[in-house]
């Protein structure tokens, strides 16, 4: 057996470095409906995603959940504002450029600015084995940059989601499975036992190499988290942003 500290210290150092790198690219997403004295709406997490070649004018891309921005992005309900708060505290306005309600994804455009955080490296959730380590970063209950560690709990693609006609809660996305729904559809979801809480939605889940393999979407209970796999995010972005456009467009369901 190893003496104490021989593996633990360097392992922790590596985990800490991975978490630090992720955290700098994770944002707090705030949505408000009207109000001159700030945001009264909900909030969640988001992460800087590689923008090239989708956005060509130097603007940055932030990926989050559709349910995080749903309240503010629906124009019929009035003046919705969305802003992101960076890890260094800077607040920047954001516009919704694409939404995918079925996969619970949304893309935000951030106008080009100096010293924006780098986008995260992307991995492939389809290669994950049950047991591989997962690091999740987000803003549960508004606590910035909270990091948790867990493992891949279920084989990718093994989760069947029954899309009933129930609405998911806009805050945290907790949802109960309903049996016998007419819209039973096998959604490709990544399952991990990272402990997430309301506010983590839209934040990244990374593998042991620090590559983002999913976006937190649903918390069935503490320790049972479901995430949209990275390849589903890539498909959403590619189809929604195929042609450069300034107006938001609805994503085509994959």
């Amino acid at each position: 057996m190893h003496s104490s500290g021989a593996l633990f210290a360097p392992l922790l150092a590596e985990t800490g470095a991975l978490a630090d790198r992720l955290r700098q690219s994770v944002v707090l997403v705030r949505c408000g409906v009207g109000g001159s004295n700030g945001y009264t709406g909900g909030h969640g997490s988001g992460v800087f995603w590689p923008a090239a070649p989708l956005l060509t004018n130097g603007d940055a891309l932030v990926v989050t959940n559709d349910h995080v921005v749903a309240g503010a992005a629906d124009r019929r309900r009035g003046h919705g504002r969305i802003e992101i708060e960076l890890a260094d505290g800077r607040r920047l306005p954001a516009t919704v450029v694409a939404r995918d309600r079925e996969n619970d994804l949304a893309a935000l455009r951030i106008p080009a600015a100096p010293d924006l955080p780098p986008p995260v490296p992307i991995g492939d959730a389809r290669n994950l084995r049950v047991g591989e380590l997962i690091v999740a970063v987000g803003n549960p209950f508004g606590v910035r940059g909270t990091t948790t560690l867990g493992i891949v709990s279920g084989a990718p693609g093994s989760v069947t989601w029954l899309d009933g006609n129930g609405e998911s809660e806009a805050y945290g996305g907790n949802r109960r499975q309903r049996g016998g729904g007419t819209n039973e559809r096998r959604r490709d979801l990544l399952q991990a036992d990272v402990v997430l809480a309301p506010g983590n939605s839209g934040g990244p889940l990374a593998n042991a190499h620090g590559r983002v393999v999913g976006i937190a979407a649903m918390i069935l209970s503490p320790g049972i988290a479901l995430a949209v796999p990275a390849h589903v995010v890539e498909q959403f972005l590619a189809s929604a942003l195929a042609a450069p456009a300034t107006a938001p467009r609805q994503a085509v369901a994959a």
Partner: protein
């Protein structure tokens, strides 16, 4: 796999990640699904290659029309209940098969507080699932001189995980998971304990434990009594019922007696009495220290078989 290392990484995290995934894959063939026809299926462990499956008793809601689904998610074998032990909530099932991949068992000293532990289960139709935590606590005990232990873990137990194995990073089983046992906490019966119960259920269909036949109530001992009898303990068990024809009745124990000790060891709550009895077999003799009408008595009891 083609994954490139992120900058600054020494690869330790990736190495650990692969080892954990490897441990899951090593144990996975021994983790089965137990289908009792109810909506919530349970998990089970292949205990012996000749068709012995270990699971929790509460997860198996009936004794007939049971099926065990193997790790290939296809092979379904009819199963029968060989025995149940309500005390440890363990059930042993039998299937007609041979050459099954039995789980590798960890040794007595392999599960230490702080060790990484993985909870494995096959809930519903989702296939093998796993969660990670550490061994949070370990309670050691002895039964008839054989050391055993019970673990708790902070690994999240998903619904349907009960009956599955808690394994170490080597893929060896350190305990049998039970969500209900610990009143919400994730408890695992240590492998040696599960083995003893499984053996008893396979050979006798039940586990025979020391039985006294008495109902008690915890009471604070009056100070004058403690002083008069020079008692160090503050509480004792007041006998409020004696089963007819029980070992307790035959020993002379009667309503109103204050049970103070078993074999010289002070007993000051009901759980302690129970664990004394659990640790002994039927037919064993014990000495009960009793206070009756202000004076001390020692009664010899031959423990019987629980009915």
């Amino acid at each position: 796999m083609g994954e490139q290392m992120s900058s600054g990484g020494g690869g330790l995290l990736a190495g650990l990640s692969h080892e954990i995934a490897g441990a899951v894959e090593r144990a996975a063939p021994s983790v089965v699904r137990v289908d009792d026809g109810s909506r919530l299926t349970a998990t089970g462990v292949i205990w012996q290659a000749d068709g012995v499956i270990l699971t929790t008793s509460h997860g198996v809601e009936r004794d007939e029309e049971l099926a065990v689904e193997l790790s290939d998610s296809t092979t379904r074998l009819p199963a029968t209940v060989a025995g149940r032990d309500p005390d440890t909530d363990v059930a042993v099932l039998r299937v007609q098969a041979s050459g099954l991949p039995a789980i590798e068992r960890a040794g007595l000293d392999d599960a230490r507080v702080g060790h990484l532990a993985l909870a494995l289960g096959r809930p519903g139709t989702a296939g093998l699932q796993a969660t990670i935590g550490i061994v949070s606590s370990r309670q050691d005990s002895q039964t008839a001189g054989t050391p055993e232990y019970i673990l708790s873990t902070d690994a999240v137990l998903y619904p349907g995980f009960s009956g599955g194995p808690l394994i170490d990073v080597g893929g060896r089983m350190i305990g049998l998971l039970n969500r209900a046992f610990g009143r919400g906490a994730a408890v695992a019966l240590g492998t040696p304990l599960a083995a003893r119960v499984a053996d008893a259920l396979l050979t006798q269909g039940k586990v025979s434990r020391g039985y006294l036949g008495v109902r008690t109530q915890l009471v604070a001992l009056p100070v004058p009594l403690r002083q008069a009898l020079n008692l160090g303990q503050e509480r004792g068990l007041l006998v409020v019922g004696v089963e007819p024809n029980s070992p307790a009745e035959q020993s002379g124990l009667t309503l109103g007696d204050l049970l103070l000790s078993v074999n010289g060891q002070n007993v000051d709550d009901v759980d302690e009495l129970r664990s004394h009895l659990r640790a002994r077999r039927a037919g064993e003799s014990v000495t009960l220290g009793v206070a009756r009408a202000g004076s001390r008595h020692d009664l010899s009891v031959t423990l019987g078989v629980e009915g």
